[in-house]
């Protein structure tokens, strides 16, 4: 369980930091904190990994049978490649 106020502040800024949208000064402050706080380091690393995993797991394409039925419903079968 996190206790220090500083850690709560980090969580509040976590979105901008993870998305690369935090300003340079804030980034530097967060990174100083992360270097000294292993718990926050874990939170940042595992949150980033969580996002990466969901992205990696998302189906990249539509299944062919679903695609064919869609074209049929839309009366566009003659355009199926």
């Amino acid at each position: 369980m996190l206790r220090a106020m500083e850690c709560r502040e980090l969580l509040g800024n976590l979105m901008d930091y993870l998305d690369g949208e935090a300003e340079a000064a804030l980034c530097a402050e967060i990174e100083r904190h992360l270097a000294a706080c292993p718990d926050c380091r874990v939170i940042v690393d595992t949150t980033r990994k969580t996002i990466t995993l969901y992205r990696a797991y998302a189906p990249p394409v539509i299944p062919e049978d679903v695609r064919r039925r869609l074209y049929r419903v839309l009366n566009l079968e003659d355009f199926i490649a």
Partner: protein
Amino acid sequence: MGTRHNLSNPTASKGITDNVEDEAVLLSRLQAGDRAAFAYLVELHSPHVYRVALKLLGDEQEAEEVLQETFLRAFEKIGQFEGRARLGTWLYRIATNLALMRLRKRQLPTVPLDEPLSGEDGEEMPRELLDWSQLPEEELLSAEARAEMDAAIAALPETLRSVFVLRDIEGLSTQETADVLGLSVPAVKSRLLRARLALRERLSEYFAERVRQVDHA
């Protein structure tokens, strides 16, 4: 045909980030009832629409129904589309609304919206602090892990799930996500933080156990 659109090869385009000029050409052809333009729109955006519906609903059959309804509705309403939003954003909005309507029929909301991140008791603060991010890929993307990921996303309230799916899985910007959902940018950021931390917590509980098993092996 005097257009820069390559209707025979939609995969050459970049999807939602498609060039604005090209989009104006496409829109005028759609509004003129050009079937090839409709086919192009479907080819370009159907994978995105399907994925959003699937991730929001967690059910292939329902996702397919939402996919079909989205394009049927888009074709019906294209004459009223004024081009203020991107076509992709508009399709995401139709699909998300259709999927959320289905979710609302299924269940009552369980968590109040936009509460502060943590209460006095730090209820939403991270609890599991074991680092599992270095586990090997085969552990992280095993069938069991993917089932856990599905369960974790299904357990999110729909308000958080929709933000996470659009922003993190689909890769829309914060502003685009706000446009699709009709939210402010701060509301998107607040919900995204809660969604990410909730998913992180649930996956951490699962993967931390795997780390402990590996350590004891």
